[in-house]
Amino acid sequence: MFGTALVVFRETLEAALIVGIIAAATRGIPGRGRWIAGGLAAGLVGSLLVAGGAEAISKVAEGMGQELFNASILGVAVVMLAWHNIWMSSHGRELAASAKQIGGAIREGSKEMSVLLVVIAVAVLREGSETVLFLYGISASPENSAALMALGGAIGLVGGIAVGALLFAGLLRIPLKWFFSATSLLVLLLAAGMAAQSARFLIQADMLPSLANPVWDTSGFVDNGSLAGKALQGLLGYDAQPSGMQITFFFTVLIAIAIGMAWARRRSETVPATPATA
């Protein structure tokens, strides 16, 4: 039972941290609760579909379908997070400053949230499909007590969600002055980390060279197998033994989004009356 709880906890943790960050980062956007719930629901349905189609996915692209699938959905999430951060650089402050929402802001807000719905769905789907396969596997084994396994799974799930909720609650305590800077930084690191993980899958599929592997080794400090390692992997794509290609992806995405954010911020400052607030 505890073994089950631990595996489910580990799988849930990464998705829960991502959802926690997004829930905080979208503070002030109208109707965000429904969008987040929609993303979770889509992710759960997607988990079942991906788990059911695992064999079919594996067979695509000379047996490298799974790697391509993971790399692609991570890539999609990176683009969505980049869009979010750049959008927030020009709209975030207005959203937080005014409790009253204007029609334009609501429309813009739903566009923004539909983008993040995809990120949440992707995060849940990636970890969720593995969890489904794992739980299906242990439920199929006769020596396991189904009730105890279900209990273990539930404990792991609740534990993972609790950590995500703690992160969310902690982020909300950040004073408004720094709030958007803090959540933007987290989303920026999240996107860069996902890009690095995407690179890892492409290297695993033998479609990208690793460019020196590993460049450094911090597994003696925080191992990727540990819970802390798993949490850091979810938050910023931490890899104790990163390859040159992963590092390149991380910093390329980090710098590209940072430039986009700076550009959006400058534009919103020089053009005071945007259509959304007029």
């Binding site: 799974q66 396969l133 794992f134 033998d206 479609m207």
Partner: protein, 106 residues
């Protein structure tokens, strides 16, 4: 773009076929056979994992940086290295108690 993807896939499959001395690994009753694999150091090697169990397994190795679900009753391929000489542990994440092994690069 499509042509580029097709070319990339072709290149990937060509390199997959070019690999000499593939290593075979069997998963049965949530255990790896063999659980100690010797592999040449400094060379890229193809590892074919044959899951004969009725349930999926996740081949996972932080040392090798591989994470791959092998669905029930199916085979999966991963590429190793080129590895430096040394020991690289791997597990079946869904059955960590029994599914353990090590690759020794020499």
């Amino acid at each position: 773009m499509l042509r580029f993807i097709a070319a990339a896939l072709l290149a990937a499959s060509a390199s997959a076929f070019a690999a000499e001395g593939d290593i075979n690994l069997v998963i049965e009753n949530h255990k790896f056979t063999p659980d100690r694999i010797e592999s040449p150091a400094g060379k890229k090697v193809k590892l074919v994992i044959d899951n004969r169990d009725a349930t999926a397994e996740e081949f996972e190795s932080h040392d090798l940086k591989i994470e791959k679900v092998i669905p029930a009753k199916s085979k999966g391929t991963v590429f190793l290295g080129p590895l430096k000489a040394g020991e690289y542990k791997f597990v079946g994440e869904f059955n960590e108690k029994t599914a353990k092994g090590v690759i020794v690069a020499k």
